[in-house]
């Protein structure tokens, strides 16, 4: 049986920390359910995967976003980043500025992932 796939798209950035945990937690839970998760960071969402930012975010009793992200990477969950979002911010962000275990991809990849997934969630 081929695994079902869920694509989680993060468009919110570190200025809205309350919106950042859900995709990671859901993706980790998907693994426990034999579902293949993929995380995609788009627009302001890319601020989440710039090195040094996740460390600053901690909500309630949850572990820091950095810990959640590391656990996500350990579980082998793909973290994809929209390259053009880097241009939009006008910042000189380079692929090496992103957290380890992430990969820079493009718009065609996102379109393809959406059609390929059995469901998508946008945050």
């Amino acid at each position: 049986m081929t695994k079902k796939k869920i694509l989680y798209v993060q468009t919110s950035g570190i200025n809205t920390p309350q919106r950042l945990y859900s995709p990671f937690i859901l993706a980790q839970t998907a693994i426990a359910m034999d579902i293949e998760p993929t995380l995609y960071f788009l627009g302001e969402g890319i601020s989440v995967v710039i090195k040094g930012n996740a460390e600053k975010i901690k909500m309630g009793n949850f572990p820091s976003l950095k810990e959640v992200m590391e656990k996500t990477a350990e579980m082998g969950i793909k973290m994809l980043i929209c390259q053009q979002s880097m241009q939009v911010f006008g910042q000189d962000i380079r692929p090496e500025d992103f957290v380890e275990n992430s990969k820079v991809v493009g718009a065609a990849t996102l379109n393809d992932l959406v059609l390929d997934a059995d469901g998508t969630m946008w945050f």
Binding site: Q28, A32, M33
Partner: protein, 107 residues
């Protein structure tokens, strides 16, 4: 109390401490004696799902797991988890605020 007279292996004192005030395996109304017991009381979503998955992975096919949880989300979550992973949710019982899930690992 009645449970103190019970001689089943699950009434071994250290395990019973984990189960709180219930001698759950003895009181469960089922002929199936679970092969393993997992106490997820005090844990909240998504931890019971993660812990259940880990425990199920350590079982052999067709073995059974009794999982206890007091997270109200666990009732629907474990149903969804079982449906997606193909493990069989034999029964759900609720005693006070604790759900008791009897799960059979898929063959």
């Amino acid at each position: 109390m009645k449970e103190k007279q019970c001689k089943c292996p699950y009434c071994e004192p250290s395990l019973k401490d984990n189960l709180g005030e219930f001698c759950t395996p003895c009181s469960i109304d089922s002929k199936i004696k679970p092969d393993e017991v997992l106490d997820c009381t005090g844990l909240y979503c998504p931890a019971p799902v993660f812990e259940t998955r880990k425990k199920i992975d350590s079982l052999k096919p067709n073995q059974t797991l009794l999982m206890l949880a007091d997270d109200p989300a666990s009732e629907e979550d474990i149903k969804a988890w079982a449906k997606r992973t193909g493990n069989e949710l034999i029964s759900i019982e609720k005693e006070k605020d604790i759900f008791k899930f009897l799960i059979k690992k898929l063959p």
